[in-house]
């Protein structure tokens, strides 16, 4: 397959691995921010072919995983109203709320539908003028422009039956949060290439300089990830701390200017709770005027939910790179992809789901 096979070539991978082995001289801890990269690493077995000095820890870059339980509960409450069609990406439907998930709500009669884009939800709103169509808007900087565009389009058309339940979050604040924590052991970051496509590199250059931490813009294919690791190891060995763009075929330093402008027009920054991690200042987004009227949480008055997490789930520690999934006592026992206690076991980008799918019995040696 053109544009993909080139980045999966076993011989080129072997060459990159050789360079990594020749470069690394001491143990180092590298975090890949993005859950898509976590899955690529485990799926391709990259963690098993890297030299033992390099430990990859998995970051909080899984929007499904960090969406706070309150918002899942809000979505279930909204979906349970007969007038509502609740739409979202497939993974969100299986994320556990305080009691049940959106799929169980659907089997009880709620109209919950999977869409591939918020614009599909917009089309649904146009076609169902007597229903209220709500899109559960999760995602990082890559997906935010799409929902911003949907809100702008809804405003332009004067739609009054389209709403967004907004759970958007941003990457730089959580990296700073993790780097400031006393428990931090991450020495270098692989940045999520697709997020950088939108944001550009400015914020990361500031963070790299301030915290003296190497950062490498990294893609998602095996060779991309190996190149990212090589970039991170090279900086660590040379004592450098800058942003190295190893995904230049996609990412430009300035990012996507028009996407950023659209997001700024539709959204404003707020403090946001991250599931399993806690409140992170200025890390989330909410609709600003004149788009506030599309805010589903306001319109359906579901702001106070009394939500409660599972007491055994350690997904917060997993999302911060402090624990590996198999260190959780519930992993593979009470908690499986079919009976998930935490969102990290659900999502196609969640670290627990990745370990369960690809490594569980090999790693944990007990299941």
């Amino acid at each position: 397959m053109k544009y993909l096979d080139e980045y999966r070539d076993p011989e080129l991978a072997a060459r990159l691995l050789k360079s990594i082995r020749e470069t690394v001289t001491r143990p180092c801890v590298i975090m890949e921010i993005c859950g898509g990269q976590t899955h690529s690493i485990l799926r391709n077995g990259i963690d098993k072919v890297l030299p033992p000095e390099i430990e990859l820890v998995h970051g909080p870059g899984c929007p499904v995983c960090v969406t706070p339980i309150e918002i899942i509960d809000q979505a279930i409450a909204i979906a349970s109203r007969p007038s509502v069609i609740l739409t979202s990406f497939g993974d969100m439907l299986r994320v556990p709320g305080t009691s049940g998930d959106l799929l169980t709500a659907r089997s009880r009669g709620a109209d919950v539908r999977i869409v591939y884009s918020p614009l599909d939800a917009l089309t649904m709103a146009r076609g169902n003028p007597d229903r209220q169509v709500v899109f559960l808007a999760v995602g990082f900087e890559t997906t935010t422009p799409h929902t911003a565009m949907a809100a702008r389009q809804a405003a332009r058309e004067g739609l009054n039956n389209f709403f967004l339940l907004v759970a958007h979050v941003m990457v730089p604040p959580v990296i700073e949060f993790l780097l400031s924590a006393p428990s931090n052991r991450v020495q270098a970051y692989l940045l999520a290439g697709h997020v950088c496509t939108v944001t550009g590199l400015g914020d990361y250059e500031r963070i790299a300089a301030r915290y003296r931490v190497p950062m490498v813009v990294t893609g998602f294919e095996p060779l991309d990830i190996l190149a990212g690791v090589l970039g991170a190891v090279s900086q660590l060995e040379r004592g450098e701390a800058c942003v190295d763009n190893r995904y230049a075929r996609v990412v430009e330093a300035g990012g996507n200017v028009s996407a950023k402008a659209m997001v700024a027009e539709v959204y404003e920054t707020v403090d946001r709770r991250w599931r399993g991690i806690g409140m992170i200042p200025a890390s989330g987004l909410r609709l600003r005027e004149p788009y506030r009227r599309f805010d589903a949480a306001d319109v359906f008055r579901v702001n106070e939910m009394g939500s409660a997490e599972s007491s055994v789930c350690i997904s917060g520690l997993v999302l911060q790179g402090l624990k590996k999934p198999f260190e959780c006592p519930a992993f593979g026992r009470e908690c499986t992809p079919r009976t998930p206690l935490g969102a990290t076991m659900v999502s196609s980008e969640g670290a627990c789901a990745a370990y369960y799918a690809y490594h569980r019995r090999l790693e944990a040696g007990r299941i």
Binding site: M1, N44, G45, R108, A357
Partner: protein
């Protein structure tokens, strides 16, 4: 499903882990008998000193017409293929129709014509049937059920519980064509190269495979819902062995892998409707492969791995980078109503 308030979800019909548990906890528990409990694609019955295969399958595919086929030939081929996993010769089929009020008679004729053609190709007759009509909105256009009977005219043991360490694993052609065809038709995916469904009757191909492999053919399975990954996991468990396959050996058409990349789907978990997994003793693997490739439905057949000893009954896949990881049973739902 422990709670008394639990309800059926779409994923219970996906062919993955939830389907398996539903079947075990509800149906097998209730009906409990030897042919059923083996949970092969067809029940094998001994009557008057002869062995027969008997199976049934219902089809709810949406859309009912799709590139490469429709609900009619799918329903005939699917049951023929379930019978063929025993190596038996199909004798006759039944067909049941649940039709929604308002369904176009011309569309029904089109489906029935396509069933007639498929049955003729497979060399069987549809000898009995049933028709029900439900009120508009109480069904979705057309559901079809087919049952089938086959005579097992060989003495070999062919069963999902019969895998032997060292067996070669053969797939008779490319993966995931049906799953991608349905998805593309449903979502209006503008694929550069259209992917037709692979729906086809495999009794002829199976005959060639058995002629070449004889009693070295230990098991066959058509990997429909849940794809090759689900089929391999079920067989490893039934036979108490492990299975090791190699990513680099999997035959996948470029437009299929392209569509899977875009949608984040794994071809190993997508349905096939014209492919057979064959487990054959290593000593006869090349002959079986050659025989399969000589048949029109087996041109792209490939050896993709082998059966290994493993007390945990794992299915594993070697990646292109040389690492090995688990290939798990699919969880929940990939795509609803693909067959």
């Amino acid at each position: 499903m422990s709670s008394e308030r639990a309800r059926i979800q779409l994923a219970h019909g996906s062919g993955g882990g939830m389907s398996r548990d539903l079947i075990a906890e509800v149906f097998v528990k209730a009906f409990d008998n030897a042919p059923l409990n083996r949970q092969d694609d067809s029940a094998v019955l001994e009557l008057y000193g002869r062995r027969f295969a008997f199976t049934t399958d219902s089809y709810v595919v949406d859309p009912i017409f799709f590139p490469g086929g429709d609900i009619g030939d799918l329903a005939v081929n699917g049951t023929i293929n379930d019978l063929s996993t025993t190596g038996g010769t199909p004798i006759a089929l039944s067909a049941g129709f649940i039709i929604e009020e308002g369904f176009l008679l011309d569309d029904l004729r089109r489906v029935v014509d396509s069933m007639k053609r498929a049955a003729a190709e497979a060399g069987v007759q549809i000898v009995t049937g049933d028709t029900k009509v439900v009120e508009r909105g109480k069904g979705d256009k057309l559901f079809v059920n087919t049952s089938g009977l086959a005579l097992i005219d060989h003495d070999h043991q062919i069963s999902c519980a019969n895998l032997k360490t060292g067996d070669s694993v053969i797939i008779t052609g490319s993966l995931a064509d049906h799953g991608v065809a349905i998805l593309a038709a449903r979502e209006d995916l503008p694929l550069q190269t259209p992917v037709p469904s692979d729906t086809a009757p495999l009794n002829g191909l199976v005959r060639e495979i058995l002629a070449a492999g004889g009693e070295a053919v230990h098991a066959m399975r058509d990997p429909t819902r849940g794809g090759v990954a689900a089929a391999l996991n079920e067989m490893a468990r039934s036979s108490r062995v492990g299975i090791a396959i190699e990513e680099a050996l999997l035959p996948i058409k470029p437009p299929v892998s392209g569509a899977c990349e875009i949608l984040g789907l794994d071809p190993l978990y997508l349905a096939n409707e014209g492919k057979m997994l064959v487990f054959v003793g290593r000593e006869r693997a090349e002959q079986v492969l050659e025989a399969a490739r000589g048949h029109r439905y087996g041109r792209e057949a490939a050896i993709i791995g082998e059966v290994v000893e493993d007390p945990k009954n794992l299915v594993s896949i070697g990646t292109r980078l040389g690492a090995r990881r688990i290939l798990d049973m699919p969880v929940g739902l990939q795509l609803p109503r693909i067959c």
